[in-house]
Symmetry: C2
Subunit: 178 residues, 2 copies
DNA sequence: GAAACCATGTAAGTTGTTACATGATTGG
DNA sequence: CCAATCATGTAACAACTTACATGGTTTC
């Protein structure tokens, strides 16, 4: 599913501006999707040009107009059509895991630090997602946020239980450099 | 980490041809990285041109020469340099989870089928990864394959325990179409 | 007073995929 | 006999990110 289609989908949940859609990507969707303004704004313009969205400009003083998008009936149909197609497979790309593959090339301290930071990141994500969960009504949104939480917790558990397997083989270089 | 750098890294583990590197991506790395021939072959050519790899063509009868790449000392340094930089954050993109966000727009049967297929996919991945695990010696490789297994297992557990939350809200459309 | 937030948009650049081009061999 | 495996490579295309362009407001 491309950004364009996801924007359309998010607008089935509520009317929103490009900026608010970006926030959505950074909050609820942050664990399994990303999008920058550079892809969101053009997507919204194009969808509007195609009649799948309408746009109402709310004049704001001393600021660019806030453009609130609303999905049209044609937009809803188009989105249902996209949803009906079998979902593609996940695309994952983890620098962290790629690095762990080469754990034995890293100085022990550096490796330990990377792992510690990873754990911190997971714990921070858990706190953020839990905070979001409080005012979520939609079952779908709750499901995916909880999924993210379960994933972060599983990752923490796995890493804590197994880090010794790679740390015991890491390079034992005494002096790091400076 | 881009494909280019990962190819370089894989060649720190053993000499390999482009074809074999592709296999590696489809096996050990399949859960958290992907790469097509269209990115691998040009990457290897470029790395060779830059002196980070050497290439030995093994003539094969009735087949294109098999080009076996080997990392050079300069290549090793370049890779260590890349490893030293802090890893970027994960990039995940899951069509499945995006679809689940809109579970209430889907006919109940379709939703149930998507979830069932997802579970099948996870179970198949577990079998494949377990098979790979048998002849793995490197601690790093073992760590990441086990990580994948833990992830698949956590996903199955989560989905089985929570699918009812979205399935009870799915559209109750009696006739699907045909 | 600096950083982050609000608010939109474009253009250039990166990175990668898909499809094409070629073709023998092996296993079911 | 059909599909998969082995084996390499290129060109066109897609999709997205980064950086630029602009500028007031709120929070620490």
């Amino acid at each position: 599913m491309d950004i364009r289609t996801l924007c359309l989908g998010l607008l089935t949940l509520r009317d929103a501006s490009g900026y608010e859609i970006k926030k959505s990507f950074e909050n609820d969707l942050s664990d399994f999707y990303e999008a920058s303004f550079g892809s969101i704004y053009p997507a919204l313009s194009k969808l509007t040009a195609e009649g799948l969205l309408t746009c109402t400009a709310q004049p704001q003083e001393k600021r660019p107009d806030k453009k609130v998008y609303r999905i049209t009936p044609a937009g809803r149909l188009a989105f249902l059509d996209a949803l009906a197609k079998p979902p593609g497979r996940d695309h994952v790309r983890s620098d962290f895991l790629a690095t762990m593959l080469f754990a034995d090339l890293l100085p022990a301290r550096h490796l330990a630090q990377l792992i510690d930071e990873r754990l911190v990141m997971h714990r921070r994500s858990i706190l953020e997602q839990r905070a979001l969960l409080k005012d979520v009504k939609s079952a779908g949104k709750r499901f995916i946020i909880d999924y993210g939480l379960a994933w972060h917790e599983a990752a923490i558990a796995y890493i804590e239980e197994n880090r010794h397997l790679i740390e015991s083989e890491a390079l034992l270089t005494p002096g790091g450099g400076s």
